[in-house]
Symmetry: C2
DNA sequence: ATTTGTGCAAATCGTTTGCATCTGA
DNA sequence: TCAGATGCAAACGATTTGCACAAAT
């Protein structure tokens, strides 16, 4: 039984993805999911995604963008990346990998997880285990 | 020519350090410098340093703590560490090294720069140069 | 005397939350 | 129907800033 198709121009990849993640495929989630997942790996801030939605003629409240990003993250569709102590970035690539960060532009780029290796890690302090090893290569304009 | 000694109990390491850095050794800078540099490598947030000053009976405004941390950073006495997207950490160790970060406690620990090695770094995008390679090993309680 | 720093309170920025209203199954 | 989602505006926490006052050279 197929429901009414409200956004006939959008494919249902998003819907399937959302359902699998246990999230109700609401209109705003579908649209945001489309923006996020239809163009390869992306790195967005809430502000950026909100603006992008807006420009594509889809109006969502910023609060909903935040909520959605968090829900997607909790559902494992996104991952947070810490590269800036004042903005939160969300990454559509949830696999193991690292990042280039262009501070001036606020732009993130992936470094494939199998390119880079960190060796010589000391043992973590007693009672602690390693949760993750995050590498950020900060970039500046070449001289 | 030696000036009047106002805080007879404090050594003048701080004063020398400040002068070398081109900063006027004001009372608050001396006290904050003492808190920062007299006990080996430290990692503080403005809030933490402010509170510490307060507890040691020295009252400074939070704004001054922020200003001072920034001035010290600009002068090369401190370095900022990005490990959390909502707090700013300042590190008294300005040399090359990396960090353990205990997210639950908000505590940073140094990893000596010569322990750890990052290899397999891809070349930075055209027109960009590597400014720094930052490694953060996130810790969680061992189960 | 002049320059530089400090403190306070108000302003800002990104993010989060409470709650009335709306929507999807 | 009705649990769950959305939007708005207000609340928030960390940080920054403007400006009158105070301290350092």
């Amino acid at each position: 039984m197929v429901g009414h198709r409200r956004d006939a121009d959008l494919p249902d990849d998003a819907v399937a993805r959302l359902r699998e993640a246990g999230l109700r495929p609401t209109r705003q989630r579908r649209r945001l999911a489309d923006l996020l997942f239809r163009q390869g790996d992306r790195h967005v801030t809430a502000e950026l995604l909100h603006q992008e939605a807006d420009e594509s003629g889809f109006h969502v409240s910023l609060a909903t963008v935040y909520n959605t990003l968090h829900q997607f993250t909790a559902a494992g569709l996104l991952r947070q990346v810490v590269v800036d102590s004042s903005r939160k970035y969300f990454d559509t690539n949830t696999g193991p990998h690292q990042h280039f960060y262009d501070e001036a532009e606020g732009r993130l780029t992936d470094i494939a997880g199998d390119d880079i290796t960190v060796s010589g890690l000391p043992a973590p302090p007693a009672g602690m285990a390693v949760a993750s090893v995050d590498v950020v290569v900060r970039l500046r304009p070449a001289r």
